[in-house]
């Protein structure tokens, strides 16, 4: 299995395409004393960095600088809780990485400084060279033990890059949620947009212009097997109909899509198994960017029916009803996603000449801007609803950035090319 080994080693020695930079911590974080992973090994050092960054990026934690640690306890008996109270630490983490011929093992213990007690003791096992993913599981365990919410460090993101590569400038990648460990899913000479995960995170759907006309493809991540959705524009027409904007239903059986029959963008539901289409909208203005609600009962979409792009919602159980308008603030609100709990929506909002990522909770009557750059787009919400990843344009460069609902911010600049259209996977556990 020489071939396999080659690919196992690559992610460790090549720089990842995206390098995370945390630009702002959260406003009211848990204060964590992370005692560095024991050992001088490369693995221990890597694990330390990855876990630290995962925790900061989650937006919920402040991690004490290593130099400001007042002691280096090696086990529970060494911990003097009152010392840690003195520097206002909320939690103390003891961590170890052990490498052996059979693999690698990370052990971590979490201590509540105020209650002076251990709250979690965990082990994660992996194969050697998988220190990165192993570390993400440690981060998620810590996140969950302290916040009570499942962490997202071990989830994945999809994104599109455009480079100067002459033959295939457009590429669709999958990477860890921190941008590292990127792996290529598609290379193409023509643009790719709107990647979307299946709910089980085993398949992706995306729009490719490879035939000269936008069309939606469904691709199995592990086999590479692809299926395209083809609809003839008319019997004698030279081209197929343009199809775009896929969104997977929560049960994985359907895709909502935009078709351009009669020359205008309308929303349809595609039954993946039966391969048939049902039309949902019928309006002379543009209807596109559909997204399923987490319970699968509603479909949100962008429509120009009021004269400017605004978000609307269709109740799939009452299809004869008029779509309900969700946004009224300003003249551009588009590409909405529901929060995983269904309590609100995240979308692109135009405020004067700026396109920002904004959130609106259904019980409130106002829009809260989350970002302040000029051309922010393509927001995608983490499966725990706490982080939003989106695309920004910085000095003519497209890069990815993130913001947490607790106020932390991070960027994922790319070493080469433009990076855009991020899409966050579901939980992979």
């Amino acid at each position: 299995m020489k071939f396999l080994k080659y690919f196992l080693i690559i992610p460790l020695f090549l720089n990842a395409e995206l390098v995370i930079e945390i630009t702002k911590g959260s406003d009211n974080p848990y204060r964590i004393a992370l005692i560095p992973f024991k050992g001088e090994s490369i693995s221990a050092k890597q694990a330390n960095e990855i876990v630290k960054n995962d925790l900061i990026r989650s937006g919920e934690f402040y991690i004490f600088d290593e130099k400001s640690l007042i002691a280096y306890p090696t086990n529970e008996d060494d911990i003097n809780y009152s010392d840690w109270r003195l520097i206002n630490a909320d939690y103390l983490l003891l961590t170890t990485v052990v490498e052996s011929n059979s693999g690698i093992e990370a052990k971590y213990e979490i201590f509540d400084v105020r209650k002076k007690s251990k709250i979690r003791s965990s082990k994660v096992y992996g194969v050697t060279n998988n220190i990165r993913q192993l570390s993400h599981y440690v981060s998620d365990g810590i996140y969950e033990a302290i916040t009570g919410i499942q962490g997202v460090a071990s989830t994945k993101i999809l994104y599109v890059s455009q480079s100067n590569d002459f033959d295939t400038p457009y590429k669709l990648y999958v990477a860890d949620a921190d941008g590292a460990n990127e792996q290529l899913l598609v290379t193409s000479p023509e643009p790719i947009i709107s990647p979307a995960w299946s709910p089980d995170s085993k398949k992706v759907a995306y729009v490719s212009f490879e035939t000269g006309i936008a069309n939606v493809y469904i691709q199995d991540i592990s086999s590479g097997e692809r299926q395209s959705i083809i609809k003839k524009r008319c019997l004698t027409c030279i081209s197929n109909e343009q199809i775009s904007s896929p969104s997977w239903s929560p049960n994985g059986k359907y895709l909502s899509l935009t078709l351009y029959q009669d020359g205008n963008a309308e929303i349809y539901i595609y039954d993946i198994k039966k391969r048939n289409l049902t039309r949902l909208t019928n309006h002379y203005s543009i209807d596109t960017e559909s997204k399923w609600s987490p319970d699968g009962r509603k479909l949100m979409f962008t429509s120009g029916r009021s004269g400017s792009p605004q978000l609307y919602e269709l109740d799939l159980r009452k299809l004869n009803k008029k779509p309900k308008r969700l946004t009224f603030e300003g003249n551009y609100n588009a590409k909405g996603s529901y929060l995983p709990g269904g309590e609100g929506i995240v979308f692109v909002h135009r405020s004067s000449d700026k396109f920002q990522i904004a959130i609106k909770y259904f019980e409130d009557n106002f829009v809260i801007p989350l970002t302040e750059a000029k051309m922010d787009e393509s927001p995608s919400v983490s499966p725990n609803g706490n982080v939003i990843i989106y695309a920004i344009n910085e000095q003519n460069n497209d890069i990815l950035a993130g913001v947490t609902l607790s106020g932390a911010k991070f960027r994922l600049p790319s070493a080469k090319g433009q990076v855009r259209e991020p899409a966050w996977s579901g939980y992979l556990k």
Partner: protein, 160 residues
């Protein structure tokens, strides 16, 4: 077309979750799965052939608009006369948008712009079957800069 490359990703099996009093004790481990890369090559299946006779023109639009200006109509008159002079001529109407706003909405907007041109040509007696309508949204700008002038140049329908 497709080259499958085995790679390692990790999925997790929770082996054991035991609660002993207030301490949560867990053990979990990782296992392998794979990722395949699909290499797409361009297929020009739907491109219309280039004939000896051809015409090309570009018409421009306002932000978030797809109606034709009087200047655009002037431009289209030339297109109409060459289509009438050459009954075998077929044209591609390729709609585009500027980079502002969302990509899918811009794809739909580019499509509407191309449809506006097609609608106008049809009212002037051009059979729709001679027209291939498509949109690139904001994906294929004529000018790659972020200012009003570039945006105005990018909100267009290319007729070719």
């Amino acid at each position: 077309m497709q080259s499958a490359k085995s790679l390692f990703t990790i999925s997790l099996i929770t082996m054991l979750v035991v609660s002993c009093s207030t301490v949560q004790v867990t053990e979990e481990s990782v296992k392998e799965s794979s990722i395949a890369t699909v290499e797409v090559s361009s297929s020009d299946t739907y491109e219309t052939k280039t004939t000896a006779v051809s015409t090309s023109a570009t018409v421009y639009f306002d932000f978030d608009k797809y109606n034709l200006s009087s200047r655009s109509i002037q431009t289209l008159r030339g297109v109409i006369s060459s289509m009438k002079d050459n009954p075998s001529l077929t044209l591609v109407l390729e709609g585009h948008a500027d980079e502002r706003g969302t990509r899918e909405y811009n794809l739909a907007l580019g499509q509407r712009r191309a449809e506006s041109v097609a609608d106008y040509l049809e009212t002037r007696g051009i059979d729709r079957s001679r027209l291939l309508i498509k949109s690139y949204g904001e994906e294929s700008p004529a000018v790659s800069a972020s200012n009003e002038r570039a945006w105005a140049r990018n909100r267009r329908v290319e007729i070719k």
